[in-house]
Amino acid sequence: MNRRSFLLVLSALVVLLGFVSSVALAQTPKRGGTLRVSYGNKIAHLDFHTAPGYEMMWVAMNVGCGLVNITPDGKFVPDAAESWQMAPDGLAYTFKLRRNAIFHDGTPVDAAAVKFSIERLMDPATKSGMRSFYEPVHSVEVLDPQTVQIRLKHPYAFFMHMLAGYRTGLVLYNPVATQKYTLQDRQQGKPEAVSGCGPFKLVEWVKGSHLVMDRFDKYFMPGQPYLDRVMIRVIKDPVTELAAFKAGEIDFIASFSPEHVDTMKAQVPKAAIMTSKETTPMLAAMKVTVPKDGKPMSVERASHPIFGDVRVRKAVGCYGIDRQEIVKIAFKGQATPWVGMAPPGTLESVNINHLCPYDPAKAKALLAEIGYGPSKPLTFELLTNTEKSVFNIIATVIKEQMTRIGVTANIKLVDKVSWLNSTLQDGPWDMYVEDLLSLLTIDSNGYLSTAYVSAKSSTWSHPRHTDTKVDDYYARYAREVDPIKRKAIGKELLEYMANNMYWNTISGSPFYMVAQPWIKGYVYNAEFEVHFDNVWLDK
């Protein structure tokens, strides 16, 4: 190598080294700054074990900590627990806690705190929506301050999923703060009462306006979080949200309206629009039974006058609905037409669309077999609510599709609270359009589909079918620890639900998050996990 070649190679190496180091520097998280987040809905209150709504959950995951978290590919990763072990019989889980995990007031996150939190969730007086998922828990034992064992009555295949990602996942409560402050203090967002063990501590919550969280310097993950502050604002109007994002006033939209995604792409081409296979089902639910004695929620049931007959449910809900057309019109093609109870992004979901092909002729024939036709037209009420405009679009398309099979659907538009009243309280509805809770696993839908057989049944089992076989399927499915056998039972369950039209999915309901290009380190995991501990601002 002559001198000239040597210099050339050396220069190239220097340039390469410079490039590599600049890339490395760009990827090194920077500390500091405020992440400005926009929520489309207000936070109801701050008792994490009971408050409804995703908005609260996304705060709970950052102010609070749990035992484990779940990654987008379904792997469990440590949170306050550094390791865990399942007993060979699947009846006990032992968690080893981090020694450096403390709550924001300095109280240690120990085994007693875990026991306290789980027992609080299981207490009927807490009125937690998660209580039914803790039914398999027999007891929580403190083995030593750093070790806690949760014993189960029977194997529960989704126990870890439940702890990690059902609703908020398990959010550990500070026993000292919980006993020192009242439930009202916690609900009202008094910062000392909402003392969690997460990366951010609550500074201020003004209902309907904003919520501020600051970095917790003693968070157990070394160096994290990177942000000084997270400021959450409520912007209900999607157009304003878009304008604020375009003007650079907000960094992160936690849930962006699907109708405006195309506009966002056109207006802010550099925006990172995050989505994945849908995890929330869009339903056209049909009521199967009504109270025999006319008293809402009565355990004495009679068939619903229209949809009590499975043939009508199949004619209308299965063959009479063109899911492709609904997705094309209502979602501009940005959703998946779907029949199964578990949407495509749900673990162990199976595509069973073949069970309900759009076949208006078959629907008409089925209705004629029952006696419906021009001389005896079928008319039903299609309930929808004002929460999302897409519900009304879907209801209108269904109405049009019903006319094609000689059925009249009268749309009734109500607000969300009225809808909740009708559906939760066994009110007089025939069919409704709505999207329900995001599903991590088929099992996480358990309380929505429980058969209405006793006073203990879930009020969220809106169709109120009385088929105990569904409960048996659920029990078998959730207790089966062999993944291959479990998947087979899961498929059977989904097919059974579709064949009986106890659960009428139309499509997935798409979910979008939007981030500015300078937001780094955020890991998208649908609605389940929204964590800002690893987020940093590259600006």
Binding site: K42, A44, H45, T50, A51, P52, G53, K127, S128, G129, R131, R167, L183, Q184, Q187, Q188, G189, V203, E204, V206, K207, G208, S209, H210, V212, R233, V234, I235, K236, D237, V239, T240, E241, A243, A244, K246, A247, G248, E249, P296, M297, V414, D415, K416, V417, S418, L420, N421, L424, Q425, L437, Y447, T459, W460
Partner: protein
């Protein structure tokens, strides 16, 4: 005069109570139950019955109202059913936002209306008059939300973020949260666009009204006399004509407070402002009875007091008016 004011102030109490009673009955007649939203996915009928009892929602309507009034007399506005937060505290945090919005929008309305009406009246049937009346017509016809969106597009996006698109920063001195402005501009930049969106419609109404009123006054005998006496045009217009022409305008301004509160709901939602308008609409949607009552109480009170102030303004504008 003092007796009159005292009598009117005493009259406010039954008026406000009557309005709150009507709202109370109406809210409970609307289908929906706040307990359903409160319990969310943990809803069971047994829990719902228990919670209704906790909040006294199972008692007869009149008893519930009497309890509310009784607590109100002790300064307790109750707690939100959904969040548990004291209603008075939430209302007080939001009041300065809406107050500032309404005052500024009324200021903008007057700033536009008074010169436009004067020019329109003095230069009747000229291009200046046609321009003023046309703009007034357009202002009346365009809804607040549309003007708001246009302003957003121009000032927040088009002009590179000259004004913030949404949110709120409290005025120094009125700040009850950690989001406080360092100076006046820090606050004013958040309220300019909403106030303009809300004020334009009001300006249009006031322009038309004041113009008509001015036309009537400048043709009256005393204005002709003043001109005959050789008084210059400026004192004739501003001291004699405008003052008298303002009486019907002031009456309408008082009535506009109700419309402004209604308009504030739309504008606050559009600009994501944490004011009383969004507070009220959220409370109504969620059937949070306690919050709705707080909202109704405050708006009814504001409306009645504003109209009292309007009545008192008459005596300043026209000394012939006397209240016994």
């Amino acid at each position: 005069m003092r007796v009159y004011i005292l009598r009117r102030l005493i009259g406010i109490v039954p008026t406000v109570l009557m309005i709150t009673f009507v709202v109370f009955v109406m809210m409970r007649s609307v289908p929906g139950d706040p307990v359903v939203a409160l319990l969310g996915d943990a809803y069971t009928e047994e829990d719902a019955v228990r919670v209704r009892a906790e909040y006294g929602l199972n008692k007869p309507l009149l008893v519930q109202y009497a309890i509310w009034v009784g607590k109100l007399a002790q300064g307790d506005w109750g707690n939100s059913i959904l969040s548990g937060r004291p209603v008075l505290r939430d209302v007080m945090i939001r009041l300065p936002v809406t107050l500032e919005l309404i005052l500024l929008s009324m200021g903008i309305a007057l700033l536009i209306a008074v010169p436009a009406a004067i020019v329109g009246a003095l230069r009747q049937n000229t291009w200046a008059d046609y321009t003023a009346t046309t703009i007034a017509m357009i202002g009346v016809s365009i809804p607040e939300f549309f003007i708001g969106v246009l302003l957003l597009l121009v000032f927040s996006i088009g002009l590179g973020g000259l004004l913030p698109s949404s949110g709120w920063v409290y005025l120094p001195g009125t700040c009850q949260t950690i989001i406080c402005a360092a100076g006046l501009w820090g606050n004013v930049q958040y309220v300019l666009m909403p106030a303009f969106a809300l004020g334009v419609g009001r300006a249009a109404i006031l322009t038309r009204l004041l113009r008509a009123s001015m036309l009537e006054v400048i043709r009256s005998d005393y204005v002709t006399t003043a001109r005959a006496k050789g008084l210059s045009e400026r004192p004739i217009v501003f001291k004699h004509a405008l003052k008298n022409a303002l009486i019907p305008t002031v009456t309408v301004m008082g009535l506009q407070v109700g419309f402004l509160i209604g308009g504030a709901i739309v504008v606050e939602t559009l600009f994501a402002m944490p004011g009383l308008g969004t507070f009220g609409i959220d409370a109504i949607i969620a059937r949070d009875y306690q919050q709705v009552q707080g909202f109704a109480l405050l708006t009814a009170f504001a409306f009645v007091v504003m109209n009292l102030l309007v009545d008192l303004t008459y005596t300043f504008l026209d000394p012939r008016i006397r209240y016994a």
